[in-house]
Each structure stands twice: as C-alpha cells, then as structure tokens.
Amino acid sequence: MKRVVSVSLGTPRRDGTSEVELLGETVRVERRGTDGDVDRAEALIRELDGNVDAIGLGGVDVYLEVGGDRYPIADGVRLRDAARRTPVVDGHGLKDTLERRVVEDLARAGRVGPGTRVLMVSALDRFGMAQALTEAGCTMVFGDVIFTTGMDYPVTTLEELGKLARRVLPQLARLPHGMLYPTGARQEEAPDERFARYFEAADLVAGDIHFIMRYLSGRAHGLTVLTNSTTESDRASLARRGVRSLVTTTPVFQGRSYGTNVVEAMLVARLGPGAGPERYMELLDRVGLEPGSFDLEVSR
C-alpha cells in the first residue's frame, strides 16, 4: 500500500482519510490541517519525510504562474524544502491541465460559453482555468483584489490580471500566506455579504472553495460552482445558499473531492517522482477518474 499525506494550512475540521485503488495498488490518502500554523506544518512535513510516499501541500502554493511568469510563495517554498527524501507537491503539476480540461468539457456540453457570466473569486492561483474560461467566450470578473483586500476592484480581462500580477505578486508572495488567504479558523467564519452583488450577477462562480464559502450570500439562486476541494458539509452549505450545481475539477473519493495537491501526491506515489502532467492525465484516464458533478437541487 502507498501512503500519501496532505499537510494543509487549513482547519483540521476538514481532515479525513480515503483509500483509492490505482492500477491494482491501494493508495491511502490522509489530510492533516494545521490551522494556519506554518511552523506546525513544517514540523509535520519533517516528521513525515521518508515515512510516506508523497506529501501534498494544501492551502498554499509553492509558486503562482501567471501569463508565463512564476512568482515563488515564501511560505510554500519553505514547506516544500522541509522534506529532503519524500516528494512534496502542491497540485501545480495537475491544476493547469485538469482545470483547463474541465472547462473545455463544460464548454463542449454547452454549460459555459459566450454569454456565461463568470465570477472567479481567485484567478492568480489558477490562471489556466481563467484562460480556459476566457477562451470559451465567458464574460469574466476576476475577484482577487476584492476578496483578498476588501477593495471593490474588479478585473475583467486576462491582460489586466497579468499586469496586476506583475505589479503586486513579487511583493505579496513574500508576505505570510495567512495574510493573503483564509487559513485555519478563518475558513469557518460566517459569510461576509459585502460583495454579494458579484455572486448574484454571475451564472458560474469559480475558484477556491474557501473564498467562495466566505463571501457567497444566501441568495445564489441557480448558480453553478466550479472548484476542487469539497466535503459533504460544503455541498450541504452550498445547497442551502441556493447553489444549483457543483462541478469539482478533482475526482470524488468516498464522498469528497480533495484538492489538486492530494491528487497529485497520489499520482506521484503511484508513478514515482518525475512523472509530469501528461502521465498524470494518462493514469487518471486509464482508471476512469473523472471530475465530480453534483446536482445540489436534489439534495436541498
């Protein structure tokens, strides 16, 4: 049996384990939240190093890639470098490929296209998805500045997003990650409805589940949510707030869709380090692991 642990800066309340069969071998997947405590996450990675087959990094990226430029995230680099023997992955090797493909599938199915109004709560951490939705002809609002700083500063084009990244990411990436992203207990705060109008004006909301949960009002009638890491409790909460359907870019294992870091760690554990996005997708296709799709009206 292979063993994979995702060390997350998120709340431990989302911790869980699953066992997945990948080409005749069982992979045991475990998530351990550290409540936004980077020191604790680093200590845990050191403890796991050499004792598991792969480690995923949750709630933080090692770097962001926007328009061909890479911006290392100080806390992410620190956590990756805490392990010397076991490969540490943040989902980057999969995110771009998998998320683009899901959008292309949605476009082929007629679920997104010209006229679809999309709010991406965070696009700097998933530029591939932002590009794919733009290429599909959707009308975009990128909410990175709005949901990170509370400043009502919508960005509507990839060009402006790239320009924004060049201006702010070299500096912001050096700040403690908890300043930029809801980690730990902040993931469980009551919804903030200051920007509800952006959700009400959208047909589809895409991006990080924690930003979505933090700002989604209870008036999201008919909305589709496109994200990755979700639990049964997230789905119930989305349904209560009026979300009609949920698409997860990662497959669903025993009731939950894990983050891309978990799926990449599973694939690395099975294929060995050095396998890239192409081999990841080949394996996912061979074992028939597909994105998740939920009709939440049924569960309401």
Partner: protein, 112 residues
C-alpha cells in the same frame, strides 16, 4: 524629499487615479505616520479623497512606524512596503484587511 513631500506625492497620485478613488470611496480611514515612535502626521482617506494632515491625529485606524528615510522611500515610490515590513524596519498596526489594502494601494500607485 521630506516626509511631507513624499506623502503629498503619494496622495496626489492616489487622487489623480479616478479608478482608485472610486474603489475606495467607502474606505474612510486615518493612517497615522509615526517616526521613531513619535506621531508625526497622518494620511486621511475620506469619500475617495486622500489628504495629508500634519501633527498627531486624534484617532487612528492604521499606524505605520519607521525611521523617516524609510517612510520617505516608501511613500516616494522608491521602496515597496513589503521588504521593510518583513525585515522589521517598518511596523504596521491595524486590521489585517486594512493593512493589506494599504499595501495594495501602494503597489498599484507605484508599481511598474
């Protein structure tokens, strides 16, 4: 450049940017500027307009403290706020969201 001149330059760039003014019209804040621990002046944001007020402000939402040359460099666009914040030359007090918003403003005003 003096501290007041650099703050004036910062406020002028903010006020000349219609989009930034619009986006911050509901963000009324007093940003106290402390030099070596002594209140020196404040940046006051009110209804999308920024002004510099000499002297100690009567109330403060955010407080920035540093040696005068560091503050001059930050508000004059010579130095981003992140580096002196991380190495301890700049202290920042305020809500996390306000601090990050001010950081963004500075980068949007002086970036590139």
């Amino acid at each position: 450049m003096t501290l007041i001149e650099s703050l004036d330059a910062f406020a002028s760039r903010f006020n000349a940017n219609e989009r930034l003014r619009q986006m911050n019209r509901d963000w009324n804040r007093t940003i106290a500027i402390d030099v070596e621990g002594e209140p020196r002046c404040a940046l006051v944001l009110e209804d999308g307009h920024m002004r510099v007020e000499p002297g100690a402000p009567s109330a403060r939402d955010i407080a920035l403290g540093a040696a005068e040359p560091v503050l001059v460099d930050i508000f004059g666009g010579e130095l981003g706020p992140t580096e002196p914040y991380l190495d301890g030359r700049l202290t920042v007090q305020g809500s996390q969201e306000d601090v990050l918003r001010l950081d963004f403003l500075s980068m949007l005003i002086w970036g590139e």
